[in-house]
Subunit: 332 residues, 2 copies
């Protein structure tokens, strides 16, 4: 007769319809009891449509009854909301204050680096009016949802993603909302999305220090902030505003990253600092946090992002960054 | 005996303390009457501190009494608010949806182009959480203000500027405000700043389609919108959101500008499209508006911006842009 642990291991192979992650990783298995060959499984119904529940019922029955020693099987669904089921160990906010410095890029590269190490990772795209994440990962289409919540999209390498752009009829539809609605959308992405079990949730913040970052810092249990900047003086000034905001909200800054540091021109074997001299040392000092990397402008990466293939990226500067990032995150 | 017109011409030489523009250009001269050698001048007191009013009283008395045929002179101040005095012919919003594409740069270059043609020009920096304009023009310091309003700063070439960064104790202080406060600040920049007489007010919008652009489009009499974008697909998608917003708010799009189109490498005499292939034709079509220019990445311009010397800029690509811009604006 199997133990309840063995049954849970078997259930880890049952994928939730609409997202190719297992029942167990989505934290939908509430209870498993085994008594005299009789197995009782209780699943949470969060974010599951009726059809998905039916499908899961059949599938789980099949998997459990196939196990040696199981004579009888009973499956119940219990009402549950995503926020009661979500278990997220670390929430990392990627912030800048300034637009167009590569917050979404750094959010994605951070998630990919952690995923390649085998961690369970999600990205919450908090940029409600200018969401970039789904396009970079080639994701589109309305995620499955029920009255109790919705499921994130899953990238090819298994990163969960939630973004307003998945919910819009067309990817270039404008979300013309005032701040309170934007804050509400972000809160919903945190409480009404079934993230399940995650080691890291990366939050991609929009530019500025207004509603979106405020809501994220007030409503989400942020473990730390990563600050992104580019070499321009002008950018440095605006980014220091974000550093001050993180300080004022008592959120630890885990590290800083300089993006668009330089452009390498192979024809003349030269690194050009097209946006000016690096501010890396100065920004690390201002933030009181380590420099995680200096990423070059990489036209190849631009293409991968535009094609939705960011997960194929591999480059030397990126490896150095991920190594430092992992050092910082895993030491924590 | 001088006519009231001649007296006004003389008053055009009296500069308002704190901003080196004349009483007449600031629209502070409410009334001038001449009767039998007796001149009566009425000035509005908007945004003028007591000391400034005293100084102006002495100065205007001097100028008028120096004119031939004037025997007696009387000067009165009348209560007035900036919004009753401002006379702005065209309000042009520079918009993108996406951050970091160069909205502030295009706002500044547009203002400079118009100023070089002799127009009276101002810039309203509506980017409350990431304001860049004062630094590009080398402006800092608290502008003069009274209970009734405040004066803008004046750039070396005579462009009026108002930005939250002029009001902050330190340029890198964070403005951690929710949307309604941001909308209110922008409205105040429109109603409580004494812009005076302007041919063009350029409004530099922040990224996104939330409070700031909404407030500007709802509260300010926008004559037209200029859309800025960069070659990335990802950017094009977000910028199309801004185009849709302008459409939904029934604001005419005057033109589109591609920034960071390419980088010219003199060593190999080659234009590199480092952010991908141009989307200029596609964006012009999407916006239903002419392409005003394709600006390259110019490390020299980056330096001028960082040094606060943007008004010294002169380059070929910029001349082509200003020519098209003027064609569009002056034909209107």
């Amino acid at each position: 007769m199997p133990t309840s642990e063995q049954i849970k291991t078997a259930l880890d192979k049952v994928l939730v319809p609409g997202i190719k992650r297992s029942l167990v990783k989505m934290n939908l298995v509430k209870d498993v009891t085994v008594n005299d060959g009789k197995v009782e499984v209780t699943l949470a119904n969060a974010a599951l449509m009726k059809e998905a529940q039916e499908w899961l019922k059949t599938k789980v029955n099949q998997v459990v009854l196939d196990m040696e020693g199981v004579k009888e099987m009973r499956l119940d669904f219990t009402e549950a909301k995503p926020k009661e089921l979500n278990s997220v160990k670390n929430v990392i906010a990627i912030m800048s204050g300034k637009g167009g410095v590569g917050k979404s890029l750094v959010s994605s590269l951070t998630a990919i680096a952690l995923r390649r190490q085998g961690f369970e990772v999600g990205i919450l795209d908090a940029d409600i009016t200018g969401p970039s994440i789904p396009k970079m990962f080639g994701l589109s289409g309305l995620p499955p949802m029920s009255e109790s919540g919705m499921l994130p999209a899953l990238s090819p390498s298994g990163i969960e993603v939630m973004s307003i752009n998945l919910l819009l009829p067309a990817e270039d539809d404008a979300v013309i909302w005032r701040g309170p609605l934007i804050g509400q959308a972000i809160t919903q992405f945190w409480t009404e999305v079934l993230w399940g079990n995650l080691d890291y949730l990366i939050v991609d913040l929009p530019p500025g220090t207004a509603d979106a970052p405020l809501t994220v810092m007030q409503q989400l249990p942020i473990s730390g902030v990563i600050i992104v900047f580019t070499p321009q003086d002008l950018t440095a000034m605006v980014v220091r505003k974000a550093v001050k905001m993180a300080r004022q909200m008592s959120k630890p800054i885990l590290g800083v990253i300089e993006n668009m540091s330089y452009l390498y021109i192979p024809e003349i074997d030269k690194k050009m600092e097209i946006f000016g001299k690096s501010h890396a040392a100065e920004m690390a000092r201002a933030a009181g946090a380590p420099l995680l990397g200096q990423l070059p402008i990489d036209p190849g990466l631009v293409t991968l992002c535009d094609e939705g293939n960011i997960e194929h990226y591999n480059a030397e500067a990126y490896s150095a960054f991920t190594q430092k990032l992992l050092d910082v995150l895993l030491k924590k």
